[in-house]
């Protein structure tokens, strides 16, 4: 009990729900949540860009809140409910935001798209009617291709004046 080496393990068992499916896995303590999602669970829709919290490509939803999956350890989210981009059209039907991205051509290479969609999904019931607040929100996800205008058009086409209706 007083031996420090007995406290702490290099492998830890975690139980999480990913897109409605229970995952009960033994993972290395150093496994990043992004690698857990992609390599352990096998969901590669979540992309990895910078791996230090800056670009937002790896954004997923943990217990209702958008997070950078590259800047969390899988063990930190033990017991949580996780949603990734694969869950959005889980029933085969694109969400209004996904449709709007498609219709507005809000992507070119598409590398950033999953991150944008998950950020937007996480706040879809909040008030982003203030244009500056919306720009500030979108600035948390980097896009190297589009120049953001088509993304902004897609978002405002769904959120009208920028206010996110629940969809």
């Amino acid at each position: 009990m007083t031996d420090a080496s007995k406290r702490g393990e290099s492998e830890v068992r975690i139980k999480v729900t990913v897109n409605g499916t229970q995952e009960n896995r033994r993972v290395p303590a150093r496994l990043l949540l992004s690698d857990f999602i992609r390599d352990t669970v096998g969901l590669t829709g979540t992309h990895i860009g910078c791996e230090h919290g800056v670009c937002g490509a790896c954004t997923i939803i943990v217990d209702g809140a958008a997070v950078r999956s590259c800047s969390l350890l899988a063990v930190q989210v033990d017991g949580s409910t996780i949603r990734t981009v694969e869950d959005l059209a889980g029933d085969g039907e694109l969400t209004p935001m996904q449709k709007a991205f498609h219709e507005n051509h809000a992507m070119q290479c598409g590398f950033c798209t999953a991150g944008f969609l998950m950020t937007l999904e996480s706040v879809k019931n909040e008030d982003y009617s203030d244009h500056d607040d919306l720009l500030d929100l979108l600035s948390g996800n980097l896009c190297r291709c589009t120049g953001y205008q088509d993304i902004l058009n897609a978002v405002t086409s769904v959120w009208e004046t920028g206010t996110g209706p629940s969809s």
Partner: protein, 294 residues
Amino acid sequence: MKPASFDYYRAKSVDDAVSTLAESPFAKVLAGGQSLVPSMNFRLSTPSLLVDIGQLDELRSVAATPEGVTIGAAATQYAVESSAEAAAVVPGLRAALRWIGHRQIRNRGTVCGSLAHADPAAELPALAVATGATMELRGPNGTRTVAATDFFRGPFWTDLQAGEIITHVRFPAQAPNVTTRVNEIARRSGDFALVGVIASIGSSNGSVDTAVLSGFGLGATPVRLTAAEGVLHGKNTLDEPARMELYEAAYSDAGDPFEDVHASTEYRRESIASLVVRTATAIIDGSSEKGGRS
């Protein structure tokens, strides 16, 4: 996998965390992980053991009373930012938090973690100094309380001793006649500030009787801009000559800020002086300018 191997331990209580830390010299506390995990991804940090306090319910509280706001070490930045009660008692909290990274970072990063990390360009240490916050620490020798002005020692260096953790931080209530604004210059929205200022200014009978200006991104720790504070005392408006005087004072308060690839010493000095003038004018002359995220 980017981080080097380490052992992980989820603390069962604060006492459990403290006793575990005491036994392992290369252990580190893990709170939100929003500074620690990226630095482990770069292997700038290679702890042998992580003691996770981020899930401890006893540290999750954000308690607002008329005297102030007390924030536990597991309370996230967004939990504090979204607390209307906290914003009513200490308006500087929400104003400062909104400048930190992005929502996704603040959803996990903690207020106490930012204070413990002590980045010289971070908003919360400067707010702690500006408001006279106190840190409650617990370690192998028990608990103690340290004032923010004594807590920050240098870049990424605080008064925390081996095995000690911040359990809570207490921000005192803002006086009713005071207005606080936070303003900064960063290369991109959400980046760490090149320079920034927390300004708390209050007036009675039309003239300024309280002026606190706490700068960040200037030196090793948050810097009180005392000459500029002096200029503000007794003013009822900031006309052109007063703004010039304020600029000169803030410029000299800035001393010799560090230089890096993004900004020279002179750029930082001029930027902080301009920010101080802009922010103080907005408060004293009641401009409705939104001032970025503030």
